[in-house]
């Protein structure tokens, strides 16, 4: 076998296969959206798992990121005596970029990995095959509730992260940069004044929430698709979980760049 064929067979083919499978899972889950009323209970359970259970860690990370941005940014601005502008930076940066990204990465690491492990275990224990044999629609029964839950909860969490990060930034602005909290809040609100033309929402917030929705969808689809291709017992499930987290994070960061360009 020549080296090009070998690279194609050993490296490119599995990537294309798994990407194709993930796209097909994503499309199939959209095609079963009409089943959502039947899956309300399972979807609410998943939303509780995604939203409520991961909220403390997501908010804590968001709070500290807001403080870090304010501290580091404020110190840099202070060299030009512009530290009072920190409120103009933290809130839009969090709303547009950091909150959706942090939320997506934390959800990929916690919820996406759990989805991959859960479905992977079901795959290796033949439970998915059993559902197929029983003519149960696996996409509607297992994937749809997870995809909807993550797609809905991701922007809500990103919104909360934006809020706590801005608050954390404000605490640093007051305690370390010697600014007034009122001035910081006014600057933060000022920075959000730019509105989207067609939607009555601040541009940065709207763009950030749109990204969060897309990242949530991608994380769920990658997690479910990876789980559904697991093989080779416990070791295979571990491998699947790792690749689900890695692929989701890589995809989120790449998508973030392109979405940023498109939404600019």
């Amino acid at each position: 076998m020549n080296p090009f064929t070998q690279v194609g067979a050993n490296w490119l083919r599995p990537i294309i296969d798994s990407a194709g499978f993930a796209v097909s899972i994503g499309l199939q889950s959209l095609a079963t959206l009409a089943h959502l009323p039947r899956r309300a209970r399972a979807t609410l359970d998943q939303m509780h798992l995604v939203g409520v259970k991961t909220m403390p860690v997501v908010l804590m990370v968001g709070f500290f990121v807001g403080m870090i941005l304010s501290l580091q940014g404020g110190q840099q601005l202070a060299t030009f005596s512009q530290q009072e502008s920190i409120g103009l930076i933290v809130a839009p940066l969090m709303a547009l970029e950091m909150a959706p990204l942090i939320t997506a990465i934390l959800l990929a690491a916690s919820v996406g990995s759990a989805m991959a492990a859960e479905l992977g275990t079901m795959k290796v224990q033949e439970e998915l095959t059993a559902l197929n044999v029983l003519s149960v629609n696996v996409i509607s029964y297992l994937v749809l509730p997870r995809v909807v839950a993550l797609t809905v909860m991701s922007p809500l969490l990103a919104l909360l992260v934006t809020w706590v990060a801005t608050l954390g930034g404000g605490i640093i602005a007051v305690s370390q940069l010697g600014l007034s909290f009122e001035g910081y809040v006014n600057n933060s609100l000022e920075s959000m004044r730019l509105m989207r033309e067609t939607i009555p929402l601040p541009k940065y917030l709207f763009d950030g929430l749109l990204k969060a929705i897309i990242f949530g969808f991608v994380t769920a689809v990658v997690g479910c698709a990876s789980g559904m291709t697991a093989s080779n017992g416990a070791q295979g499930v571990g491998q699947t979980t790792r690749s689900a987290v890695r692929n989701a994070i890589v995809l989120i960061i790449v998508l973030d760049f392109f979405l940023g360009k498109v939404l600019m």
């Binding site: 033949e126 439970e127 095959t129 044999v133 029983l134 003519s135 149960v136």
Partner: protein
């Protein structure tokens, strides 16, 4: 017992990469008949079960179940075929977050438009049949392996299948529990008169449930005969395999 074959496998070949798993395999199962498939590991026993229910497609050859050519069926036809068939998995494959009752009710809730009261009476009757009515509210993790197998059997029976495929029903069970599962299969056959194909490594199970025993090796049928004839076979490989205590 009618002679019309419900299952017809003809000259089936299947390879996974370079490894040939089924090699010109042919056999038939008549309505109401119970065929047991035995053979060493890797002989293609479970693989043929997966072909019968359309989880795998043969490379060549034909497979017919209840008059339908399985490899040619599209997803809707396959779903229809599977509603007429049951498959008992080696490790029961129960959904671990559903109770025994909900596991058994699952195929009815997902694939039929029956009311909850109709589903309830159906589920209760199959749980009674497999002696598990008292365990209906338990979770799969709270019951023994043998009970899990019986729940799997109940879940298979609840859709009134015409053909049941058993993949090593005795796997992972102690001899007593294994005998109880075999007894259950025999009882179901006598009470419902169902056509079945059973893959097993256990001779007591094969002897108890089978009208015929088919011995496979390297994806080929070596012998297909009633259990009593298998033990008196003059084929050296068959004598060797069945002389080893199972």
């Amino acid at each position: 017992m009618s002679d019309a074959p419900v299952i017809r496998v003809h000259e089936v070949d299947k390879a996974f990469g370079p490894q040939k798993v089924l090699n010109g395999l042919s056999f038939e199962v008549a309505k109401g008949e119970s065929l047991v498939i035995m053979g060493p590991s890797g002989a293609g026993k479970s693989v043929i079960l997966k072909h019968l229910i359309g989880l795998l497609r043969p490379d060549t050859g034909t497979i017919e179940v209840a008059g339908r050519e399985v490899p040619r069926l599209r997803p809707a036809g396959l779903a229809e075929l599977r509603r007429d068939m049951g498959y008992l998995f080696q490790h029961a494959a129960l959904i671990n977050w559903l109770s025994v009752y909900d596991n058994v009710a699952l195929p009815l809730r997902e694939t039929t438009s029956q009311s909850e009261s109709e589903i309830n009476s159906k589920v209760i009757s199959v749980l009674e049949l497999v002696h598990l009515l008292d365990a209906r509210n338990k979770m799969p993790s709270e019951i023994s392996g043998g009970m899990q197998k019986r729940v799997g059997l109940a879940r298979t029976l609840v859709t009134d299948p015409k053909v049941i495929l058993y993949d090593e029903p005795e796997a992972g069970l102690d001899p007593e529990m294994s005998a109880s599962v075999s007894e259950m299969i025999v009882r179901l056959r006598h009470e419902i008169g169902m056509t079945s194909v059973t893959v097993t490594h256990s001779w007591p199970c094969a002897e108890a449930v089978g009208d015929r025993v088919a011995f496979f090796e390297h994806g080929k049928l070596v012998i297909d005969a009633p259990p009593a004839d298998i033990l008196s076979s003059t084929i050296p490989r068959v004598r060797e395999f069945f002389s080893t205590p199972k």
